[in-house]
């Protein structure tokens, strides 16, 4: 497809970000909170990688590529960096949630809270 109407990828990224903000703000379960952060990361990554797209262009790799314009390469590199960063963040978050569950026996953020104020 040469032309995707209505900025669809950008809107999809905005939708993902919006849903994940909803999850982060309103959900009480810590696992859901982590999913929210993961979705937020996916939304931002989708937005970043979509920025570099040029209609009808090739991937920016010269090996056996047909002649023609290439899509922008920096957003792809940034997205790659950001994906790895988010993997790291998620691993650490999950570790802490395992510990919280071991200590308190619940994943509900209201019940597992030790500190108030």
């Amino acid at each position: 497809m040469d032309y995707i109407p209505l900025d669809f990828p950008f809107l999809a990224a905005a939708l993902l970000v919006g849903i994940s903000f909803y999850i982060i703000i309103f959900k009480k379960n810590l696992t859901k909170l982590i999913m929210g952060v993961a979705m937020l990361a996916s939304g931002v990554n989708l937005f970043l990688v979509a920025l570099g797209y040029r209609a009808g262009a090739n991937a920016p790799i010269y090996t056996d590529v047909p002649e023609g314009p290439m899509v922008m390469s920096i957003p792809q590199a940034l997205t790659l960096t950001s994906i790895v960063i988010n993997v790291a963040v998620l691993a650490l978050m999950l570790t802490m949630v395992i510990h919280i569950y071991r200590h308190t026996g619940t994943l509900d953020s209201e019940k597992s809270r030790k500190m108030k104020g």
Partner: protein
């Protein structure tokens, strides 16, 4: 621990996964891929082994302490490669023009040559090593911890 069929199949498949992952790492500078992607492919193989066998079994062959050392070494190789260029500037691509990965491809589309890219292929290897060791250690530690086993310091 899953059934014998799964375990045998996993034992065979890991070889192909490892070879494919190494291919992606080694050709990072000429085809899509690189250290992170190839490393992640190999770690997916490790995860498959973890599912097929139990974490207890894996621990016998793959110790976190060893993984930790390998990861540190990968990181060290990466930063030393970056330091190597400090005669000019940090991160300077000093291998360009030397026989070791020093080739420069013809501008424009071409078939691609493995002996190009200067420090890029070497950095891909360092990062690949790091990703394999690091992510395996994380997955293994989480699996061991959630099955109630000791994770060594």
């Amino acid at each position: 621990m899953l059934s014998k069929i799964v375990r045998t199949a996993a034992n065979q498949l890991i070889v192909f996964i490892a070879v494919f992952g190494l291919y992606v790492i080694a050709h990072g500078h000429i085809t899509p891929g690189g250290g992170f992607q190839g490393g992640a492919i190999i770690v997916s193989g490790v995860v498959m082994l973890l599912v097929a066998f139990s974490s207890h079994e894996i621990k016998k062959g793959l110790r976190e302490r060893v993984l930790s050392v390998v990861e540190s070494s990968g990181a060290l190789v990466f930063i030393i490669l970056a330091f190597a260029g400090i005669g000019t500037v940090f991160f300077y691509n000093l291998l360009l023009g030397t026989p070791l990965f020093g080739g420069i491809p013809a501008t424009g589309p071409g078939p691609g040559n493995i002996w190009t890219g200067g420090i890029i292929p070497l950095m891909n290897f360092a990062v690949g090593l790091k990703v394999i060791a690091g992510l395996s250690a994380v997955v293994l530690a989480l699996a061991l911890f959630s099955s109630g086993e000791e994770v060594e310091e």
